[in-house]
């Protein structure tokens, strides 16, 4: 058996079509929209603001709080019960860990920066889409950052190492599948999220990470462009703001 062709004809090292926008939620201090294939994430940043209860405060620097949530109608099958689940709590936690290395919150003792990630539609890769949106929202909020964080899943479907698995690939039944969500800091070349489930050999795993490193710069450019575009639009130069493909 061999996995020869992807559903949408993309190459094994290609991610799905990406659309990104910054400043999509007016009330927020920073916000972003990130769509990859049929997975859509919104992220909103509120803060730095005072943190209660007070025992959670850190007197030396601000803290980052992330909250990942799927809207009840955003699952591919049945309705997702609203409210936190074990899964969403874990994803919120790893998202926070993925973002914290690029953030400098030393100027905001006792404060909190809240990041709310909401999924309106999912087809795998939702935590990575959430991280991409969140890092753009943090930048949009004007927080001091060393870099953006860019994220995509890589993995293996049957005999092929691939980038950005969709749900059908994650559910592939005729061979081994591995799904490896990754977050990456382009300027340092470091990984800040790494999870895996599935079965993969050591060599293939390293190959997958290498493939991820190659795909990341293209995602990174889309994120940066969207952040800049907000200001192009602001000046009324709408015709100049091209869509990210």
């Amino acid at each position: 058996m061999s996995y020869t062709k992807r559903k949408d004809n993309r190459g094994f090292d290609d991610f799905r079509k990406v659309e990104a926008k910054a400043g999509v939620i007016k009330n927020a201090d920073g916000s972003a929209y990130f769509k990859i294939g049929n997975t859509i994430a919104y992220a909103a940043v509120y803060g730095p603001r005072e943190l209660y209860p007070r025992f959670l405060q850190n007197p030396t620097k601000g803290i980052l709080r992330c909250n990942y949530n799927m809207m009840p109608f955003s699952g591919m099958g049945e309705r997702v019960r609203p409210g936190p689940s074990r899964r969403s709590k874990e994803i919120s936690m790893v998202t926070q860990k993925a973002l914290i290395p690029v953030l400098d919150l030393s100027e905001y003792p006792n404060a909190v920066v809240d990041v709310f990630i909401e999924l309106t539609e999912t087809d795998a890769g939702s935590r990575c889409a959430g991280i991409c949106a969140a890092s753009m929202a943090l930048a949009d909020a004007g927080l001091k950052m060393r870099d953006l964080v860019t994220a995509v899943s890589v993995g293996k479907v049957d005999d092929k190492v691939v980038v950005d698995l969709d749900y059908a690939e994650e559910a592939y039944e005729d061979g081994h599948v591995a799904d490896i969500p990754i977050a990456y800091i382009p300027s340092t070349g470091e990984f800040s999220l790494l999870q895996m489930d599935g079965i993969i050999s050591t060599d293939e795993f390293i190959e997958a990470l290498t493939l991820a490193k190659k795909a990341m710069p293209r995602l990174y450019e889309i994120q940066k462009k969207a952040l800049k575009e907000k200001y192009l639009l602001f000046h009324g130069n709408e015709e100049k703001g091209e869509k990210n493909e």
Binding site: I25, N38, Y46, M71, P72, M76, P82
Partner: protein, 259 residues
């Protein structure tokens, strides 16, 4: 907002001046986009000025209530996501989102907007359960009207998933639409001091003394109401509110009819 600001707002409103230069009886720009979420069987985003709400419909097969063995089930739930406002907090639904979902629910249920009998698959055993979930994206006032419009638009865009008698196939939607017989449209009229107005921004809404939501149908009949706020109304005021609400609902209905 302080009391001074409130008095200032009321004084301006009496001269017909609003913060965003609208008339007291004008809505903000309404845009409705259908099917923003492909995982939902129906969905819609409604924007009223800077207020933005998304509603999604999920269809499931389940058992009917024992006292209504032939009726399908509809459920309305609203989430005031902390993403949408610094005033919303994570956690179980607060009283505002519960009230909103119940008002939207009554508008749909009491108008018999949906023929629940048509959602029956096998009497007493299997019926369709229609979950209407409303999530806020940005709160700039008048969430109630925006939410109810989003719910209605989402219901209109819904297609049944496949069903073979055993399992629901969410991957392929059929061409069958929900049995929508009525389209309940809500208009909330707000009162501050002795002025009446519709569709407040968040800033305006902070100064509201009372509100009355009137949900009406295409034939002019009324199907659900909810009074809110701490001030009472006189009969004359209520009659004035009903007139204003039914007038505005005709404009909103035109937008819903376009879908």
């Amino acid at each position: 907002m302080s009391n001074d600001q409130k008095q200032h707002m009321i004084k301006s409103f009496k001269q017909g001046v609003r913060f965003d230069e609208r008339g007291l009886e004008d809505f903000r720009k309404l845009t409705i986009s259908c099917k923003p979420s492909k995982t939902a069987e129906g969905s819609a985003v409604v924007k009223l000025g800077d207020t933005e709400v998304i509603a999604g419909i999920k269809m499931m097969v389940g058992t009917p209530f024992p006292d209504r063995p032939e009726d399908g089930v509809i459920m309305v739930n609203a989430e005031f996501l902390p993403l949408a406002s610094p005033d919303f907090e994570s956690g179980p639904p607060g009283i505002d989102s519960i009230e909103l979902s119940r008002v939207v629910d009554r508008g749909i249920r009491e108008s018999h907007a949906m023929d629940l009998k048509k959602l029956c698959i096998k009497k007493g055993e299997k019926v369709w359960i229609v979950s209407i979930d409303i999530c806020t994206l940005n709160d700039d006032g008048n969430l109630l009207d925006a939410a109810a419009l989003a719910a209605l638009a989402a219901l209109k865009s819904t297609r049944f998933p496949g069903y073979d008698g055993e399992e629901v196939n969410y991957k392929e939607l059929t061409d069958d639409k929900l049995p929508l017989a009525q389209e309940p449209i809500p208009v909330t009229v707000y009162k501050a001091g002795d002025v009446f107005f519709v569709d407040p921004t968040k800033e305006e809404q902070k100064n509201v003394d009372a509100r009355l939501t009137i949900t009406s149908l295409g034939d002019g009949n009324l199907c659900a109401m909810q009074k809110g706020g701490e001030q009472p109304f006189t009969l004359d005021e209520i009659s004035k509110i009903v007139d204003l609400a039914t007038k505005r609902s005709k404009d909103l209905r035109k937008e819903i009819d376009k879908l």
